[in-house]
């Protein structure tokens, strides 16, 4: 942050990858957040605190709305289906499949936060938005969820506007040096596999 934008050599680059994932939104019924947390823990997932993202096998959990969590697991894993969660959470929560509703992208590289500042009003400096933080905001007139994890930035956006966001990211990233990277899976953002 000490240097002006020009200090980022174009070669430093931004890597942009898509992240196909099963996405389930868990919502706790009134006063049942703790029960839902226990249920998730029993299934091997720690629900992230509000405004945070956690990564652990088998995937990611993040929370940008009170009493709500998004669970991201590998698209082909067969784990974390909404139906299974709905049955398990009956009485304490609601599970809705959003796998088709949200598109997930992963941006990495030293200039990512500078590039995102071209539209994102959030303070994305590492000290203000460190690894593990997540937030919902508006970028390029579209609602997005941003989460910092493993040195990368996870970006979730509605599927129907994903192409618009993607095109903007590609255009805006060019001066920083853009590389389109192979698809990632949620596991790539956790543990030793971090991008």
């Amino acid at each position: 942050m000490s240097a002006p934008d020009s200090a980022h050599a174009a070669a430093a680059g931004i890597r942009l990858a898509s992240l196909p994932a099963n996405i389930v939104e868990l919502a706790a019924l009134r006063s049942r957040s703790v029960d839902l947390g226990r249920l998730a823990a029993a299934r091997g997932l720690a629900l992230a605190d509000f405004g945070h993202i956690t990564a652990q096998s088998p995937g990611l959990t993040l929370s940008v709305r009170p009493r709500r969590w998004l669970l991201l697991t590998a698209a082909a894993s067969g784990q974390g289906g909404a139906t299974a969660w709905q049955e398990a959470a009956a009485g304490c929560g609601v599970a809705v499949d959003l796998s088709s509703a949200l598109a997930a992208l992963v941006l990495s590289g030293p200039a990512v936060r500078d590039m995102l500042a071209r539209s994102c009003r959030l303070d994305l400096a590492a000290e203000a938005f460190p690894d593990g933080r997540a937030a919902a905001t508006i970028m390029v007139q579209v609602s997005v969820i941003l989460a910092a994890l493993g040195g990368a930035m996870l970006l979730l956006t509605p599927a129907t506007t994903a192409r618009h966001v993607h095109e903007w990211l590609v255009t805006t990233s060019q001066p920083f040096g853009l590389a389109l990277a192979p698809q990632l899976s949620p596991a790539d953002l956790s543990g030793d596999n971090r991008v």
């Binding site: 942050m1 934008d5 499949d97 796998s99 088709s100 500042a117 539209s119 129907t160």
Partner: protein, 979 residues
């Protein structure tokens, strides 16, 4: 030799790098690092333009962006950029600039006749002179005045040279505005305390006033190096903070370097939105002019500018300059020029004596104290000055330029925008503005503390206070080299105007004279804001930086009140002109607005669909590139006679779950949903709080505590917001979870007499018989092998099913539908055909559901619950919403079936009667009925069914006799949908 020339090496110029440029067609040479203004001065050019109104000759007045006179057109790859201050245009190889507001040439401008006619053209003359005849103002007077006045001209070519632009959001604990000794000191201290600091400086280099004093060179270099080593401090040179907007938000405009321009695809300016917890304003104090006759002649400039041209670019503004000052700072340029071998003709000081005067005399310069300049000799450029001596004797002194310093006015604009009141400071003859502590601090010259060392000391105190407030106390001791001491100084003596014959200007850009200000006062515009608007003083691109306070002082004298009572006009953003491209940022062209694409958008494209934008959505209008109605009617005909399929994924879909889901829906809908059985759907209407109809749609019950609510495409986001508001704020006791699943589900309507056969091929073992799966049934189902949902609902008026599948599997299901429907002649149909079908059936969309209609107006009053609360219930019962003469939904058909209908056609009883009884909201040629059919909103419409009215379309010059019919023009018994 006389006139300006380059005499030394400047701080910013590189003598080894010559740069060619053109001005008014003539090729000249400058140096890398020059501005256009410094290069022109180095080439001996003083005359750069003509003034706004009088077309008087104008030269260079300042050395920064606040230049009022030396404005030029710069012609480059991006087109012609008018009104660029030559003082801020960096010289580049091949730069092409031309002077503006002259005809035919700069030297011979025929419109300079305005100057001779000046006595007939005072401020506001056109308000009084061009009163009659009234029609002539727009046709004659205004066009003529606009041609004669103004400065640069915009390129006629529009729209194809939009420069790339971007808006960047920055955040900091403290924003430091200005990087002079005060700003640098504050940034260093705050940075050392660990605070995140943004240091914005409008100059291309950091240093401010210290750049003009060689004693500060090592201090400045050391400070800049220390700042560069602090990772939490970010320096933004060439960045002007344009305005303060409260809550710690500031706008700033950055001018990019050539290197940055190349990297960012030719980007020239970058608009920065800065957000900071506190601000430290160290933005200095611009020098002001003195009003005296001829103070606009080329060669008259500010003393600080004369100093800056010498130090920064090695350019002497004259061989024999005179100085006219009322403060010690004004001597600095004369002393620096003397050291460089240019001896001032004289220094005329309005004060009886001064410390600086003694230093000047020691340097061998002539100082005339207690004297003033009462006029300038020369019209084309300065040839000398007429000096009024204390004994009343007038003396002419030959000189080739005149450097003026009327004191310094602290830059208070940002502070005022943050709510700081102006305070008159007699000691500095200027206003200051103390920031509210919650916003930040002002420091140094910005709050009237003059002298680089004094300003730095003041900034240190302010920064320490800010650091403590932000819980990051600064380390004790100085983190910088010792400050060079300020020389002893004698206070400024207020001097605003020297009376005399001839025009004395207070606003050089808008040609406002002292006499104009007095005229404003005589005409009753006594308030400074009224005077500003009457005279346009301070409304030019320089925002009255050098003459605003002088105008206030002239006004105060005219009113006979102290200047403190008059004040200054309120400064508003922007501080300098901002290109529209910078305001638009990157949201132009294909990024102008988001495009929502359907899950099978690519299939629609491949099928040759013509798309239409509806809100943000791109929807297939018709699967044909042909214009006209025939392709549309062919699609609609397929639905009426066999089967068709359309993509209705744009419908809003909201998942409603929880123990209180049914109660919540009973509250938000005007009809009841708690009685809906699992596996069934129901049409519902939703009212706004004011009782007007808000939205409609079908809601299916998927489980005892699980509903899927659909909305119109247009109201999708608004309905979700409405529901969230009422759940969180009005019925917070209800345990309900709302989830927007619009993008999750693709939804396809299969409609037509053969729909059942088609869907049966896809729905596996699901029994689709009328008994097992009747109209308004809903079920989870495997559709073409993909888990989804099946609804038997109809918008077309035909037997229809809607298949919902997760968007990822949408293309496979859509293609399976087409394959299954192939033997039945299935056709995909677009939005136009959908519209045709729904109009025939009498179904409403946003054309009728327009925010001004009630449930009763649209014939849905029978749906309103008789008991129980729901949103809008009370206000829907207002007498005004119950009248039978309200606009009500009806169907319309031309009596002559060969005539067409048009949307917006007004309904009247006779051609002679102009009062409209209503209008056609939607119309289409019919595939089922003869001719055109339409829907209309008609006063007392239901009572007029069976009558005839005239439909008048003045836009098309058409009058058509219309039959008023039931809106349900097709299958009113709903036999088809229940087939």
């Amino acid at each position: 030799m006389s006139g300006p020339s380059r005499i030394a090496r400047g701080l910013l110029t590189d003598p080894a790098k010559a740069v060619s440029f053109r001005f008014d067609g003539r090729t000249l040479q400058g140096l890398a690092g020059d501005t256009l203004a410094s290069a022109l001065l180095a080439n001996g050019r003083r005359l750069l333009g003509r003034s706004f109104k009088y077309h008087r000759r104008r030269g260079i007045v300042t050395a920064d962006k606040g230049e009022p006179c030396a404005l030029v057109d710069v012609i480059g790859e991006a087109g012609r950029e008018p009104n660029q201050p030559a003082t801020a245009v960096l010289l580049s190889e091949g730069l092409h600039a031309v002077s503006q507001n002259r005809w035919p040439t700069l030297a011979l401008d025929l419109l300079a006749v305005n100057d001779w006619l000046g006595r007939f053209l005072p401020a506001g003359f056109y308000y009084k002179t061009f009163m009659a005849p009234g029609w002539a103002w727009e046709r004659v007077y205004e066009p003529l005045i606009r041609r004669a006045a103004g400065l640069g001209r915009l390129e006629g070519r529009l729209g194809d040279h939009a420069a790339p632009a971007e808006i960047v959001h920055d955040h900091a604990d403290v924003l430091v505005v200005g990087a002079g000794s005060a700003g640098l000191t504050a940034a260093l201290l705050l940075g050392s305390a660990g605070l995140r600091v943004l240091l914005a400086e409008q100059d291309i280099v950091l240093g401010g006033g210290t750049l003009l004093d060689a004693r500060w060179t090592s201090w400045r270099a050391d400070a800049c190096a220390r700042l560069a080593s602090l990772p939490n401090v970010r320096c933004l040179p060439a960045t002007t903070v344009l305005g303060a907007y409260g809550h710690g938000t500031f706008g700033a405009l950055e001018t990019l370097t050539a290197q940055e321009r190349a990297r960012f695809r030719g980007l020239r300016e970058r608009l920065r939105v800065l957000r900071a917890r506190r601000v430290l304003l160290a933005c200095g104090a611009p020098e002001r002019l003195i009003a005296f006759p001829g103070n606009d002649v080329p060669g008259v400039m500010l003393a600080g500018a004369a100093h800056a041209y010498l130090r920064r670019y090695g350019v002497a503004v004259g061989r024999r300059p005179a100085f006219f000052v009322n403060n010690d700072e004004g001597y600095a340029g004369a002393l620096a020029l003397a050291a460089a071998g240019i001896r001032a003709a004289a220094i005329i000081d309005a004060r009886p004596d001064a410390c600086a005067a003694a230093r000047a005399r020691e340097a061998g310069l002539e100082v005339l104290c207690d004297a003033s300049v009462s006029g300038v000799l020369g019209r084309r450029s300065v040839r000398g000055v007429r000096v009024m001596l204390p004994d009343g004797v007038s003396r002419s002194i030959p000189a080739d330029c005149l450097a003026v310093s009327g004191g310094h006015s602290p830059a208070t604009a940002l502070a005022c925008q943050l709510g700081a009141p102006l305070r008159w400071q007699e000691a500095i003859a200027a206003f200051t503005a103390d920031l509210p502590a919650a916003a930040g601090r002002s420091a140094g010259a910005a709050r009237g503390i003059f002298g680089a060392a004094a300003a730095a000391r003041d900034a240190e105190h302010a920064a320490r206070a800010l650091a403590a407030e932000l819980a990051r106390p600064a380390p004790e001791g100085a983190a910088w080299l010792p400050w060079p001491a300020d020389p002893a100084a004698t206070p400024v003596r207020a001097l605003w105007e020297v009376p005399g014959r001839g025009k004395a200007f207070v606003d050089l850009q808008n040609d406002v004279t002292t006499e104009d200000v007095r005229l404003a006062c005589r005409e009753g515009y006594e308030h400074v804001e009224h005077m500003k608007r009457f005279t346009t003083c301070g409304m030019a691109t320089d925002q009255g930086r050098s003459g605003g306070l002088v105008a206030s002082a002239v006004l105060a004298a005219a009113r006979g009140v102290p200047l403190s009572q008059v004040g200054q006009s309120r400064p508003r953003p922007f501080a300098e002109p901002v290109p529209f491209a910078a305001l638009a940022g990157g949201e132009v062209g294909s990024h102008y607005k988001p495009r929502r694409r359907l899950p099978i958008n690519d299939w629609h494209e491949r099928a040759g669909a013509t798309f239409v934008s509806t809100g943000l959505w791109l929807r297939p209008l018709v699967y044909s590139a042909e214009s006209g109605w025939e392709p549309v009617l062919a699609e609609a005909r397929a639905v009426r006679r066999a089967v068709g399929v359309t993509d209705v994924s744009t419908l809003g879909k909201i998942d409603v779950q929880g123990p209180d889901a049914a109660r919540f829906l009973d509250f938000v809908y005007a009809n009841s949903f708690s009685t809906l059985a699992v596996g069934r759907a129901r049409y519902g209407i939703m009212l706004r709080e004011d009782g007007m109809l808000f939205d409609d749609g079908t809601t299916a019950r998927l489980g005892p505590e699980h509903f899927l609510l659909t909305t119109t495409t247009a109201n999708s986001a608004a309905v979700l917001e409405h529901l969230e508001f009422h759940l969180q704020a009005v019925r917070p006791q209800l345990d309900v979870v709302l989830t927007d699943v619009c993008d999750q589900w693709a939804q396809f309507a299969v409609a037509g007499p053969r729909a059942r056969e088609v869907v049966a091929c896809l729905a596996g073992d699901l029994d689709l018989s009328n008994h097992a799966f009747p109209f308004m049934a809903a079920a989870e189902a495997s559709l073409a092998g993909i888990p989804g949902r099946l609804f038997r609902i109809s918008f077309s008026g035909e037997l229809a099913y809607e298949l919902a599948v997760p968007a990822r599997g949408a293309t496979a299901v859509w293609e399976a539908i087409l394959a299954a429907g192939g033997p039945h002649g299935i056709r995909p149909y677009g939005l136009d055909a959908l519209n045709t079908l729904r109009i025939e059936k009498g179904h409403v969309t946003t054309a009728e559901l327009n925010g001004n209609t009630t449930a009763a107006d649209l014939g849905c009053a029978h749906l309103l619950k008789k008991s129980g609360d729901f949103i809008g219930r009370t206000l829907a019962a207002r007498p005004g919403l119950l009248g039978t003469d309200r606009l009500q939904l009806v169907g319309v058909r031309p009596a002559d079936r060969s005539r067409r209908l048009r949307n917006g056609t007004q309904l009247v009883t006779s051609a002679a009667r102009s009062a409209s009884l209503g209008y056609v909201t939607s119309c289409t040629p019919s595939v089922e009925l003869e001719g055109w059919v339409g829907l209309a909103l008609l006063a007392g419409g239901r009572q007029r069914i069976g009558s005839r009215l005239l439909g008048v379309s003045p836009v098309h010059g058409e009058t058509t006799e219309l039959e008023i019919v039931s809106p349900h023009m097709l299958d009113p018994e709903n036999a088809r949908v229940r087939a």
